[in-house]
């Protein structure tokens, strides 16, 4: 403990009362973590929750600082994983979507999405895989383009004469923006044009837009 004292709360949050204090020179064992709080055990065997902010001012046994990665702009630029959920519209229907992405470089990402759309005429699912290229990953608001392929499963509503479920392959191209919020979070909004390769003579083009909340690791 290199700071005058470390406050130990009864729970993992600032709203929980401070029940114990660890003095300068004493040591604690870190047991586990819940969000940005660490459960620690003092030399006297008392357990409590210390915030990552407070713990980062303490020292490890070799004299180096205890470091915690809470997420920052540098992490927004380069990270390995990201994921998020969206709400939007797909060809006039309401869209609910979730995605996960793996970064190959700071600019290039491999993405997979699963979406469900719910409309008055038909419901359906979309499963896509594709590439995203982020142009300026160091900018707070960074533009990107996407290109990929997937399948669409359509379930026409029962009010139609002969509802037949069908599945079609699709290709998509899109543009979007990523906006860093704080810590590990960012907003993501995008527009896509989906080319559905139907079994009929003409392909179908379905426009899709979605905005959502995403985080990175």
């Amino acid at each position: 403990m290199a700071v005058p004292y470390l406050e130990l709360h009864t729970g993992p949050g600032r709203g929980y009362p401070v029940a114990q204090v660890v003095g300068r020179g004493e040591s604690v064992d870190v047991l586990y973590r819940h969000t940005d709080w660490f459960k620690v055990r003092t030399e006297r065997g008392i357990e409590g929750w210390a915030s990552a902010q407070d713990l980062s001012r303490t020292l490890l046994a070799d004299g180096s600082r205890f470091t915690v990665n809470l997420g920052d702009r540098a992490g927004f630029r380069s990270h390995t994983w990201e994921g998020g959920v969206f709400a939007g519209a797909y060809a006039g229907a309401t869209l609910i979507s979730a995605y996960a992405a793996l970064s190959v470089t700071d600019n290039l990402k491999i993405e997979a999405d699963a979406s469900q759309y719910l409309g008055n005429i038909s419901n359906g699912y979309l499963f896509d895989i594709g590439l995203a290229h982020v142009f300026m990953p160091e900018w707070r608001v960074s533009p990107f383009v996407t290109l990929g392929t997937g399948i669409e499963l359509v379930e026409p509503k029962a009010t139609l004469a002969q509802p037949i479920n069908r599945s079609d392959q699709l290709g998509y191209a899109g543009i979007g923006l990523r906006c860093y919020l704080t810590r590990r979070f960012f907003l993501r909004g995008e527009f896509r044009s989906n080319e559905i390769f139907t079994r009929t003579n003409t392909n179908e083009v379905d426009k899709e837009w979605r905005v959502g909340f995403a985080f990175f690791y």
């Binding site: 009864t10 586990y32 810590r183 985080f215």
Partner: protein, 251 residues
């Protein structure tokens, strides 16, 4: 003998006098130079700076020379590998309660929830629930008319929600037991499968989470599931209130 003692005494006196003389001379010279320096300082500050800084800078040169090495430190630096700290930000649980499906009566509901706690304030929740709708008043009174088949009465939903812990604190049970707890607000989007149709749904509500241990949580949760449906031929909003009791584990 006497002459020897006298000689010894005289030489001692002479030595003392000489040394005293030398000390006195040095002292006298030092004080006179200091006096001259102070007098010159009074007359001209630049000159005094030059004279007084001379001996001081000489002293600094002496102290800045590296001290002789007495002990060569041979300290072996400890290398510490910090083990990965286990985190329990995920919460998986089951719940059971009652749901009032609009026009179809209040029925038992059961479900699963998976939470991801992002910060101490916010969490994501994915939930899946199911219930079986009862009969409408019309079906009960008309005697035998069924608006929906048994398969269509199945009510299943999923929600993706964002939660916010508004009132974190402690709950006291008796005098000795205090458990951490939090009141949370939750809202999200999802879909409801009911009456042979699937519709977009919005859910919102509030809940109370109490933790007997760091890995176990008890939930009391009230939410409204709202969706637009044309079960009764025209589109209208259907509100479905549910109150549930759940148990979940952190991992």
């Amino acid at each position: 003998m006497e002459s020897r003692i006298r000689l010894l005494l005289l030489s001692a006196v002479a030595l003392w006098a000489c040394s005293g003389c030398a000390v006195w001379h040095r002292l006298h010279r030092h004080s006179s130079s200091a006096a001259s320096a102070s007098s010159s300082a009074a007359s001209s500050s630049t000159a005094s700076g030059g004279t007084s800084s001379g001996p001081e800078s000489g002293g600094d040169d002496q102290s800045s020379s590296p001290p002789p090495v007495v002990v060569v430190p041979q300290v072996q630096r400890r290398t510490i590998t910090v083990p990965k700290i286990k985190s329990n930000n995920l919460e998986l649980g089951a719940y059971y309660g009652i749901i009032s499906i609009q026009d179809f009566g209040a029925q038992p509901v059961e479900g699963l929830r998976l939470d991801y706690h992002i910060t101490e304030d916010f969490f994501f929740e994915g939930s899946y629930g199911r219930a079986t709708a009862g009969e409408t008043s019309f079906e009960l009174l008309s005697g035998g008319i069924q608006l929906l088949s048994n398969a269509e009465r199945r009510f299943t939903y999923y929600n993706l929600s964002l939660g916010y812990n508004v009132l974190p604190g402690e709950t006291f049970i008796g005098h000795k037991l205090a458990m951490t707890s939090a009141l949370y607000l939750i809202g999200g989007i999802g879909s409801v499968q009911f009456a042979g149709d699937q519709n977009f749904a919005v859910n919102f509500g509030a809940g109370y989470r109490i933790l007997p241990t760091d890995w176990l949580a008890l939930h009391i949760d009230v939410q409204d599931l709202v969706f637009r449906t044309d079960i009764f031929t025209v589109y209208r909003l259907q509100n479905n209130l549910q109150a549930t009791l759940g148990l979940s584990v952190y991992f």
